[in-house]
């Protein structure tokens, strides 16, 4: 067991000029076989490993990652956490996740900087306002905190927002989930990695999966750039590359991969202490602890695995930003990037068993997976350990595309990507 992080360990290490901090996780060579191999060392995969070890006592586990931990979508999202989803199935899984977020820093002994600064969704026309009321009522019936703000309350809550009635898209109302907010995204990967490693999970970076070994319809192991690794069960948690992994295993998924762009401004003093989203003009913005505005855009329409995107999407997003926040019009943008998101036809994830025995996929989170990281790992660990889905993720199986029981969160989810 590793030494716990605390104010005392910080003080003790300060006396040594911080030269003696131990590595947070090992980097072992892969063993020849594991009970479970998890493909993908992002937040969801590492959380799966952590809960497999902690909740189910399965510790003969490896996480294989083709790059570095959290270098994919975990480090590329806009760090927003919320659970204000319309449908019961989504509300249950995202709220389960939000409850895990609320204790996560203590649970992991790692500061994930979860900040419940509230998340506000704006309505710009009468239809949106009515839809917002409907959604908030449904969310409250599921026992999830959410409220409606009128324009005066919005002005008081976020004074820098342009609430002028003469604006191109006037603000007519908003929903607010006060328990929503942001978290430090790569700290989530690091915290779960450290927690999983201390329970015996092997984390193997720079190890790309090149194929699955399957016989008699059952997975036997994975071919990787570090050689063959046997596995009784394989859990694939590879976000935008899930279609590629499914192709290696010989089946297709109802998923398309698209770039989702984000950018940050130069850092400024604290000016925005909440998260503001506008589905209509399509921007979402918060301010990081470093002072940078963190801005998210919509997806590029075309299929792509290039972690970039077209400038016209950024232009559209910045138009929306300065419309809502004229105060930001002189800010300069520091960095822009894209992550490859795995979009599903119903904008809901796929978590469960696959056509190959012993192979499980957790994918299809599309544009909104970060908020689900703890809950996603938790239900995925259950699914892999028990070889059946937990009631929370049972509605999110691949079979819903055959049964027609889709969970259509397009638009309902707050941002209509």
């Amino acid at each position: 067991m590793k030494a716990r992080y605390s104010i005392f360990s910080l003080a003790r290490n300060a006396l040594n000029y911080h030269q003696d901090w131990r590595q947070a996780w090992r980097s072992p060579e892969p063993k020849s076989e594991y009970d479970v191999v998890i493909v993908g060392g992002g937040g969801h995969g590492l959380a799966t490993a952590y809960y497999l070890a902690k909740e189910h006592g399965i510790t003969n586990v490896a996480v294989v990652e083709k790059g570095w931990l959290g270098g994919g979508n975990t480090g590329r999202n806009t760090t927003i956490v919320r659970s204000n989803y319309l449908w019961d199935e989504s509300a249950a899984i995202y709220e389960h996740s939000l409850k895990l977020w609320e204790g996560l820093s203590q649970e992991l002994n790692f500061n994930v900087m979860f900040s419940q600064r509230g998340i506000m969704n704006l309505a710009h026309n009468q239809h949106e306002l009515r839809e917002l009321h409907r959604r908030i009522n449904a969310i409250r019936l599921n026992g999830i905190d959410s409220e409606i703000l009128n324009v005066e309350q919005i002005k008081a809550f976020c004074p820098i927002l342009n609430c002028s009635p003469t604006a191109r898209h006037p603000v007519l109302g908003a929903s607010l989930q006060r328990r929503g907010g942001t978290a430090r995204h790569d700290a989530v990967a690091w915290g779960y990695a450290r927690g999983a490693d201390s329970r015996g999970v092997d984390i193997i970076q720079n190890c790309e999966v090149t194929g699955f070994r399957i016989s008699n319809g059952r997975v036997q192991g994975i071919e990787t750039t570090k050689g063959y690794i046997g596995a009784k069960k394989v859990a694939c948690v590879t976000a935008g590359h899930s279609g590629v992994m499914a192709g290696l295993a010989g089946f297709r998924l109802p998923i398309e991969s698209h770039p989702l762009q984000a950018l940050v401004s130069e850092p400024v003093k604290p000016v925005l202490d909440t998260v503001v989203m506008s589905p209509a003009v399509h921007v979402y913005v918060s301010q990081s602890d470093k002072g940078e505005l963190v801005l998210g855009a919509g997806i590029d329409a075309y299929n792509s695995y290039a972690q970039t995107g077209s400038p016209l999407v950024v232009e559209h997003q910045l138009n929306a930003l300065v419309e809502l926040f004229p105060i930001f019009s002189r800010l300069r943008v520091l960095r822009q990037w894209a992550g490859i998101v795995d979009t599903c036809p119903d904008a809901s994830p796929i978590i469960g068993k696959m056509p190959v025995e012993g192979l499980y996929f957790n994918c299809g989170w599309g544009t909104g997976g970060f908020k689900a990281t703890p809950g996603s790992g938790w239900v995925m660990a259950y699914t892999v350990a028990q070889d059946r889905p937990h009631p929370l993720n049972a509605p999110f199986g691949l079979e819903r595309f055959t049964s027609g029981y889709l969970i259509d969160e397009h638009g309902a989810a707050g941002v209509a990507h």
Partner: protein, 93 residues
């Protein structure tokens, strides 16, 4: 941002076009006889390749006509533009 050569109008900016997703997905010839699994396959399952992708585009802010494109999903290079109904051209990797 990339240029797309509309077979009817010539090279134009990407912003003039709408994306039509994977091409060459044939409508079922006999819909009544399809099983649920076959419907799921037709409606939802996609190749989503990392590499050459045969896809449809519409010159929505131009001639408004549909056509096919072979585009690489990592480099965004366009190797072939061809009309609806034409077979997908073979592309050297």
């Amino acid at each position: 941002m990339f240029l797309i050569s509309c077979p009817f109008c010539g090279p134009r900016e990407e912003s003039e076009f709408s994306y039509g997703h994977e091409g060459h997905i044939a409508r079922p010839a006999d819909p009544d006889s399809l099983s649920d699994a076959e419907w799921a396959d037709y409606l939802f399952m996609r190749k989503n390749p990392k590499g050459w992708h045969y896809e449809r585009w519409n010159h929505a802010r131009g001639c408004r006509r549909w056509f096919n494109v072979a585009r690489h999903t990592v480099t965004h290079e366009i190797r072939a533009v061809y009309k609806m109904g034409d077979p997908p051209p073979a592309i050297e990797p």
